[in-house]
Symmetry: C2
Subunit: 491 residues, 2 copies
């Protein structure tokens, strides 16, 4: 069922070799200029042709009076024009031979009135010239690996593994910085706008085929092609998890969606059914959407629902256990053999029931390496949730205890934290069971930052870690069901 990625209508939209941009000028406050700034800032490698009726140069680039003047047929046209003139510009592109466009301009169907007619006009021009387009009323796309960011905000991190398709542009651009807060990034992000031509299902298919996308996130206010959504999702889920936030399920969410994108949302239970049939994991907030994507993209899938919680703090351990229990996960006791293997590392204050509460370790590497390795070895363990507490101040104090002072302390403490992180990263990478970290520290903490920057998931609380593990278990269950699916289930 999987089609090659370059046969997708979106392929040239996010991998253009050349592009024309309409609506950029030398006026910095213009939306088109802003979008062109983003494209230039990320260092798009191909030629960019600004089309402008009067300017000779736009943002340092040679500008062209008309589309007909362009020296080649651009792969992609980006329209950031007033509503009324967008259809004509699209037609000029069609005449030139361009077959792909992003219509950023708003004021179409979402505004009602004559906007409806103008959107029909766009569609009929597109049909006439065989143009596939994204939008209108979208904020564009970002494909950082292609160094292509055609949106209004700068993309300043490495490319990531999360592919995103969103019925709100905010959940593309405003997530650049949000994801950066966890060391994450997008593989490719699509803002679909009014979906006059290309829609969410096309994005899903593209991201399903995209080799850099390990997990797909979606922000949904409405699904316009239910049957195709389900079929496409089911064809992807065996290879790649899909996570969706659906905003239209509540009364106020439905109304908000209607005025936002003209979306006709359905009640929660309908969408729950669609997601279940599709094998799509439902998230209940934007932070959950990305927590789930993070774990599903970065960790191996759990074989079952047996989880071990490892902690050195009773409270965070209890909260993790409470959260796991509410997710339907099982905190099995460890085996007698595991118990025996753990014994040398457990102080008398420690607790060997699950959560495994070490309380303290004389050798901190025991906590980060030996103990989790023993726990991951236990046959009952399908996943490990591990609490990460590494107070810089605590380490400094301990260093002083070894008689170090001043600059030496700072350097040794930095080295100590670095070495611990290297060991943890190596340990987790060696295992094929998911190991999810949680901590109340954020990336200001160098230990946490280093783990996250090396592909280790560290979620910001025990409850969020438990929720995310629950989502992973649901993914595996739905995936397996689809893979062994009866025709009835597929219907």
């Amino acid at each position: 069922m999987q089609t090659p990625i370059n046969s997708s209508p979106l392929y040239k939209i996010v991998n253009p070799r050349s592009l024309a941009i309409f609506g950029a000028s030398n006026r910095y406050t213009a939306m088109g200029t802003n979008l062109l700034s983003s494209i230039q800032a990320l260092g798009f490698a191909g030629p960019i042709y600004p089309v402008h009726p009067t300017e000779k140069k736009v943002m340092g680039l040679k500008a062209y009076k008309t589309t007909a003047d362009l020296p080649e047929i651009p792969d992609l046209a980006i329209l950031v024009l007033p509503t009324g003139v967008a259809p004509e510009a699209l037609e000029e592109c069609g005449k030139k031979g361009t077959r792909h466009a992003i219509v950023v301009s708003g004021g179409f169907k979402e505004m009602g009135g004559e906007g409806i007619g103008l959107e029909k006009q766009l569609k009929s021009i597109a049909r006439q010239y065989d143009i596939r387009f994204l939008g209108p009323n979208c904020i564009g796309v970002a494909n950082p690996r292609h160094r292509f960011n055609a949106t209004f905000l700068p993309y300043e991190q490495e490319p990531g593994f999360i592919g995103m398709a969103s019925q709100s542009g905010s959940f593309i651009t405003q997530m650049f910085d949000y994801l950066k807060q966890s060391g994450l990034g997008f593989s490719t992000g699509f803002s679909v706008g009014n979906e006059a031509d290309i829609d969410l299902v096309d994005c899903l298919a593209y991201l399903g085929a995209c080799p850099h996308t390990k997990v797909i996130g979606m922000y949904i206010e409405t699904i316009r092609r239910g049957r195709e959504f389900i079929d496409t999702a089911r064809s992807i889920v065996p290879r790649k998890p899909i996570v969706a936030y659906y905003a239209g399920g509540s009364e106020a969410g439905r109304k908000a969606s209607l005025s936002h994108t003209g979306a006709l949302s359905g009640p929660d239970r309908i969408y729950d059914g669609v997601f279940r049939q599709s094998g799509v994991i439902r998230a209940w907030s934007i932070e959950e959407l990305f927590d789930f994507c993070w774990c599903l993209g970065a960790c191996p899938p759990p074989a079952g629902k047996g989880v071990i919680v490892q902690t050195n703090s009773g409270g965070p351990g209890a909260v993790a256990a409470d959260g796991c229990s509410r997710e339907g996960l099982k905190l099995n006791p460890v085996s007698v053999r595991t118990r025996q293997r753990l014994a040398p590392y457990m102080p008398h204050t420690g607790s060997i029931t699950n959560p495994i509460d070490i309380t303290y370790t004389k050798n901190i590497l025991d906590y980060f390496i030996k103990i989790p390795e023993i726990l991951l070895d236990d046959a009952e363990t399908d996943a490990l949730l591990i609490y990460f507490l590494m107070s810089e101040k605590g380490v400094l104090r301990a260093m002083e205890g070894f008689g170090l002072s001043g600059e030496n302390t700072a350097a040794e403490s930095k080295k100590f934290i670095h070495d611990q992180a290297v060991a943890v990263i190596d340990m987790i990478r060696r295992h094929t069971k998911p190991c999810i970290g949680f901590s109340f520290s954020n990336r200001e903490n160098p230990f946490i930052r280093m783990l996250q920057d090396n592909g280790i998931v560290v979620l910001p609380s025990p409850s969020r870690a438990a929720r995310a593990l629950g989502a992973m278990v649901r993914y595996v269950r739905m995936r397996d069901k689809i893979m062994s699916g009866t025709p009835q289930e597929a219907a």
Copy 2:
């Protein structure tokens, strides 16, 4: 029912004029030394008397061989000693005349076996000498306004307005940094440990009477005195909100609590009933606990459940609306008069249904001042949720549009962001309706940081903002019910 704060057994425990510490030495890795470091680091003003059998000086302070040698009767004794010698040390304190103690030492009832007998011994000594003590098996207390931090981690922010009583020490010390991530801090924090003498209810009463505590947070694994908990909470709730996270409600949470503090937890529904009777708001995660405390402590209470969502991004607005709806809040349409007053500030792309989606504003002050003022003026508005998006990069680009460049741009952009923040802070402070901000930006964003540092709530997502507003509305409902309570409800 409210007793004066200085008659609380905890008064001298968190406001000592002088203290003796047992277990601190010149060995930096010793727990007692660590705790003394924290006390010294925050600059405790009173005399500190280390008691040590051999050292002449401990951490630069004159040390005393025995308690009897101390030059005065210390207000407070802090015991960080091995289990076996703690009772004897407590007895020496009793003989000296000290009437308050914190027993940090573990290895008592929570370990079973002879620990049970040792805890009984502690209690009987305390009774004999009229000593009130916190612990054993706790991590101490923090009262930053008194510059007193007797815990294992440094307290490095300003005193805050959240009073905390916790059955896990982690949710005191490890929250110092966590709260700092939002510009918050504790008024006073208590780790209660095994509650052999002073318990959660005593902490609740103290925090209820504490003039610097605007809201009380609790981490609960078990409530040992149900009747007193309910009565004490009910006496506080009319003046001050109480928020609790209860870890023992699930099967795994119950087991974890049992092995953590020997707590015998009850099922969720029992605790739900206790919380409802007490007027205590239940939080479902640690982050919710502090989100709720933040809003309840920093904002005026909402008069009803009518909320207006103001946004300039459709998606975050729709998610906020969806979240509010799920909390049972009402997104009423604005009145005709409000609609008319808004008209001059709304672009044609904007939506005047609730969420009020401004989309963009020519004058950004309209978004931050004029529009929220009009919305807060509407009689149907009990609370405003407002989306804060202020991209530094976006501002820089706009500044370049005014022909500025280089250093000028940076300075002007800084000034612009600063001035906007000042105006927003002033606007929100002038109103008596709660105005809760939400943003996906964190404190690395100077606008967000400045708002938070000036008492404005900015939560990290629309869903969390909606949840917190829901909690505020529940607080008001429960408070009003208690204030007009029938004797049956009080029973």
